[in-house]
C-alpha cells in the first residue's frame, strides 16, 4: 500500500466511529496491538520531548527505508504513535518528506486531544520528519 493509500484507509476506519469514546477504543486497540518494544531501548535519547506521557521512538535504516518502532506508557498515546508508524514506517526518507501530514487534520485528532497531548502529537510528527531528513 502506498503512503497515501494507507492514510485513506485510516481515515475511513476512523470515520466508522461517530463518538470520540469509540475512536479512543480504536486507538486503545491499536496501542495494545503494537509490537513489544525492548526495555533496553527505553533510553532518554529515544524519548520524544513535549509529551505528558513518555514516548520512545526507535529508528533504523533498512535497504533505504526508515523503520520505526515505538512505545509509550500511556495507551492512547501508544495508539497514536502506532497509527503514525503504520503510515510512515518502511518508507523512504523522500516519501516521508514529501508528505504534509495533513491526514491527521482529516482525523480531527489534534482538535480532540487535550492541548498537552496535541503538543505531543506535533512533537511525534516533528521527530519522524527530522529522522527522515537526517537519513535523506
Amino acid at each position: 500500500m502506498t503512503l497515501k493509500e494507507k492514510q485513506e484507509q485510516i481515515i475511513e476506519d476512523f470515520s466508522l466511529y461517530d463518538e470520540w469514546l469509540d475512536k479512543y477504543e480504536y486507538l486503545i486497540e491499536l496501542g495494545k496491538a503494537l509490537e513489544p518494544f525492548p526495555e533496553e531501548k527505553k533510553t532518554d535519547d529515544r524519548l520524544i520531548n513535549g509529551c505528558q506521557s513518555r514516548v520512545w521512538l526507535d529508528t533504523q535504516m533498512s535497504s533505504g527505508r526508515l523503520v520505526f518502532t515505538a512505545d509509550s506508557d500511556a495507551i492512547i498515546t501508544k495508539g497514536i504513535i502506532s497509527l503514525l508508524i503504520s503510515v510512515y514506517s518502511d518508507r523512504t526518507p523522500e516519501e516521508i518528506l514529501q508528505d504534509d501530514f495533513s491526514f491527521l487534520d482529516a482525523l480531527g485528532l489534534k482538535e480532540n486531544l487535550s492541548p498537552t497531548r496535541a503538543n505531543g502529537l506535533v512533537s511525534m510528527i516533528e521527530t519522524i520528519r527530522a529522522k527522515a531528513a537526517e537519513n535523506e
Binding site: 505528558q52 506521557s53 492512547i76 498515546t77 497531548r117
Partner: protein, 398 residues
Amino acid sequence: MNIREQFPQLERKVYGKPLVYLDNAATSLRPRSVIERWTEISSHSTSNLHRAVHHIAAEATEAYEAARDAVRDFINAPQREEVIFTSGTTHAINLAAWSIGEAFIGEGDEIIVAESEHHSDLVPWQMLCRRKNAVLKRLKVDDSGHILTDALKELITPRTKLTCVAHISNVLGLINPISEIASLCHRNGVMLLVDGAQGIVHQSVDVQSLGCDFYAFSGHKMYGAPGTGVLWGRKDLLEQMPPMFGGGEMIETVSWSGSTWAPLPRKFEAGTQDISAVPCFVQAIETMKQMPQDTQVRDFVYESLMKMDDVTLFGTTDDLNEKVPLFSIAVKGAHHEDLALILDKMGVAVRSGQMCAEPLMDRFGVTGMLRASFAPYNTMNEAEYFLSSLRKAITMLK
C-alpha cells in the same frame, strides 16, 4: 437559594454532555456575584487608587480597601495593614521568599520545606537558598501522606530560620497540623510560612489560632477573581522586610540620594493593582460563607475509591475530619493521562499529571496521578457519575 444557580458555568455542556467539573483545586468556578461585581467596577468605577482626588478615585480606593477589611476579618488577622494583595499564591510566596531572604537569611542558614509542597512553595525557596548560600532541608511525609512532625524536631537546628508547609497539600488533601508545627517552630525561634492556597478553601482560617507567621492564598480558588491573592504576615516581621518591587505607591519619598518606603501594606503593593478584581474578594468571601458544609460527598467518594480494585488513593486517614474532598489516585495498568482523556469525553473534568509536585510524585514512585477535587456545589449524583465513569474508563484501558 440553590447554590448551583449561582455558578453559571455549571450549566455548561461539553461534547453534548453535562459538565461535571471536578478540577476545583486547580481553580474554582466563579459565582454570579463576583462576575457582576467585576463588571460593575469595570463599567462604572474604574480609576486608579489612592492617587487622585476625584470622586471615582475615591470610590475605587474604597472598594479596594473594603476587600482588605473583608480579608482581614475572614482570616482574623490582627491588623488590616498585614493583608497584602498579590496576584496569587505564587506571587505571595515569591514576594515573601525575596523579602524574608533579604531581612533574615544569611549564608549557612536553613530553611525547611515539606516534601508535599506545590512547586510554588518549593522553587522560590530553592532560589532563595541559591542566592544566599543557605541550606534547604526536606521535611518528609509518611506513606499515608502525613507530615512527619517528629522528624521536624530533628531537622531544626540553631541555624534554622524558617519552615514552609501547606495548610492542605494540593495532592494529598490532608489538613496538616499547623498549630502543632507552629508551636514547635516558635519554641525554637523558627518562623513558619503556610501555603494556604487549598487551606483557605476548605478550612475556616484563623491566622492567630493557627499561630503561623505568614499565610499565602489565591482568590481564584475561593470563587474570587483570577489574578488576585493575599500574603498575610505578622506586622513586626513585615516591617523589617524590604520591598521586592520598587515603583509607584510603595514609596514615602523619592530623591536622587535615595528613597524611603511607604508604610504597610503599600510598601509591598508597587504599581497599579488589579483594581477590578481585588474588590471581588468581598463577594468571594460572602460566597465562601454561604457554602453548605456537607461531608456526604467526601465520605462517599473516599470510601468508594478505597474499595476499588487496582486503585491507590494518596492521602489516606482513619479520621475523615482531616481529609478534604480532593482525591489523587493511581490506577494499576491505566495511565493517568489516558484516564483523564476518557473522562473528559464523558464530560468529567479532572486533573492528571504531576500536579506541580514533581518531588512528591517521585516520593510515591509514580509518573503522575489522577485528581478529582470537589467543591460544595458538586452533587452526590456527580460523585456517582464520576465513579461509574472512572470504572468504565478503567475497563476500557485494561
